[in-house]
Amino acid sequence: MSSAQIEIQLIASLVAMACAIPGTFLVLRKMALITDAISHSILPGIVIGFFVTQDLSSPLLIILAAASGVLTVVLVEFIQKTGLVKEDTAIGLVFPVLFSIGILLIAKNANDVHLDVDAVLLGELAFAPFDRLNIGEFDLGPKSLWIIGTILLITLGLLLAFFKELKVSTFDAGLASALGLSPVVIHYGLMTVSSITTVGAFDAVGAILVIALMIAPAATAYLLTNDLKKMLLLAVIFGVGSAITGYWVAHGLDASISGSMTTVLGVVFLMVYLFAPNKGLLSVLYRQKQQRIEVSLLTFLLHLGNHKEKEERHVKHLNEHINWQKVQSKSVLELALKNNMITIDNEIVSLTQKGKKFTKEAIDYIVTNKNSEIENMKDRFFLFRG
């Protein structure tokens, strides 16, 4: 590994960490799409900032661009408050307009601005090590490393200082304001941090991939845990892991680094989405299937419990009476038999002692809706786990 490669991976990891922290809170607060809006609408801020400062990495430019990000949030909220359109429409209207203004500003001044529209969307991580911060004779490393490092430090500092406040206001806004924490301050604080992070990451990964770095690690982590601290930690790990893996994939394919970072994030999310225990697609589908079978079983047992007559309890009768398909009635019958709930005597089905007890407990639960009745069933049946 050359030193440039190490530097690129370091920058990518820092960007991923800096994005994952505000991203986690945005996902939890159901404001993930505001990053979409911010990442697009900081463009005019960057262009105007560039006209003023003539330097893409000056702090003033970052502040101007971050201000236009916050302006977007304010605009969206203003439009939403008028009640003329819904919130999502407001977001969808504001950022394309601001982004268009940015593109036109670049196009109109193409000769003066060293801003490439492609670079706006993609960023150029590969060139980051060439823009170095020098003080006198000393080479202090790439400029973007310092910028994103500073942003990350500030974000971490704010996170540690206001963790409790953020947590309360994210999960219970009412309680937070009752405790005297202003929701407005926390909201705009988070928005400001998100905007500044977006601007800082913009250089490295471009406008749209910032969204991926903010949302994807947080969403992936959210599928695995319900604990805020663990979620933050997992999001950071997923972000940094994908950033480094993504770099080597891009190296192998000779393609865009940010593109391959996002692709790796996508693959990680897909895996977790499919295989996560409890919340993954497969386990949800399995649970739903189990519940369906158990509902059938319960219906069947209740039916048996209600009928003393023999003809109602005939095996053949199941199909027509409860209106089940042949395969389904057969599998339910087998399940009940396997659990010793029923006995089949000369094609006549009867409940066993255990079956009667089960049916009674289930009815008690349905009627009273009290959990105590089904405590002992929870281990065996998905249906009663809630």
Binding site: D36, L93, P96, G259, L265
Partner: protein
Amino acid sequence: MDLQEYIELVFTDYTLRTITLGTAILGAICGMLGSFAVLRKQSLLGDAISHAALPGIAIAFLVLGTKNSAAFLLGALVSGLIGTFWIRGITRKTHLKSDTALGLILSLFFGFGMLLLTYIQKQPNANQAGLESYLFGQAATLLESDVWLMIIVTGISLVILLLFWKELKLLLFDPEYTKTLGFNTKFLDILITTFIVVAIVLGLQTVGVVLMSAMLLAPAAAARQWTNNLAIMVILAAIFGASSGVLGTAISASHNNLSTGPVIVLVAGAFVLISFVFSPGRGLLFREIRFRKNRNDLQLHKTLSFMYDIASTHEDISHPHAIKILNNFQGFTRKSLQKLEDKNYIKVHGNMWSMTASGFHTAANLYNQLVKAEEDE
């Protein structure tokens, strides 16, 4: 270039005619289908789908090795639909909310698309140039065949809309009721979503991935302000969309260095702004005017009922009183007295006022209504 010259040019110049027609039709179909997206609260679906279409375009190119609009459209359509259904899968099967799902699909698909695009650019193949035009759109690359394709798709979606009009309308406003009536809501849902995806994919070449969502939303959001009737809204949105296309093309054609896509979006944004402010029913301006008028009416009523209280203490209701005694009541101004006089409720002589019979009658009824309202409570 003056207006007449420009209009002549639109009819004679092949490129300009194609672009104008293309953007107009695109605006119309986006407005039409966008109305459904906005009313179904799926405004940002357009944004997600347009980004999600990118890998489809890149894969179509990788498979074919040449640029072919129809194949690109198909690729974009397939990957847009995959994105849409994955979004549904995420929101239905996990506890992630729709905003997270939209943002995820948007950014992940787009990132994957960019990976493929940059990979293609490094390939030794001369044909790849111009693929980036799908990012921001290049109306100048529109061909007559593209316009024909748009016309055909618009025609088909019009027919489908008309055929399923009643069902779609019902689905929009009361999905539960639609279900109980026995309509196949799943089919209707997929039908309208598919057509929204088609409209988005059609627009990619012209306005590009990033700005496509505005094309879908802006005309519909503008049209929504002028009417509460779905049919009128759809028609209005189509008109707004088409006019933004034509106007945007005209503005960008008559200046240097103005790309068509962003200009169209800005024109559509201007339509929205105008509608937000000036629409008579919901607009901010008329809302403010109504608000002030109501406030003034209330002030007048307050003054009048105060005068009534004073006048009713006298046997002769038209007995003159000094204006001064109204002073401790803040609701009166010279103007409001003038207004009351204009309505023939009071007469003003110098610094004295007296109530007329009609004023007394109105004030008495006003007061009675108030008493009545109090009793009701």
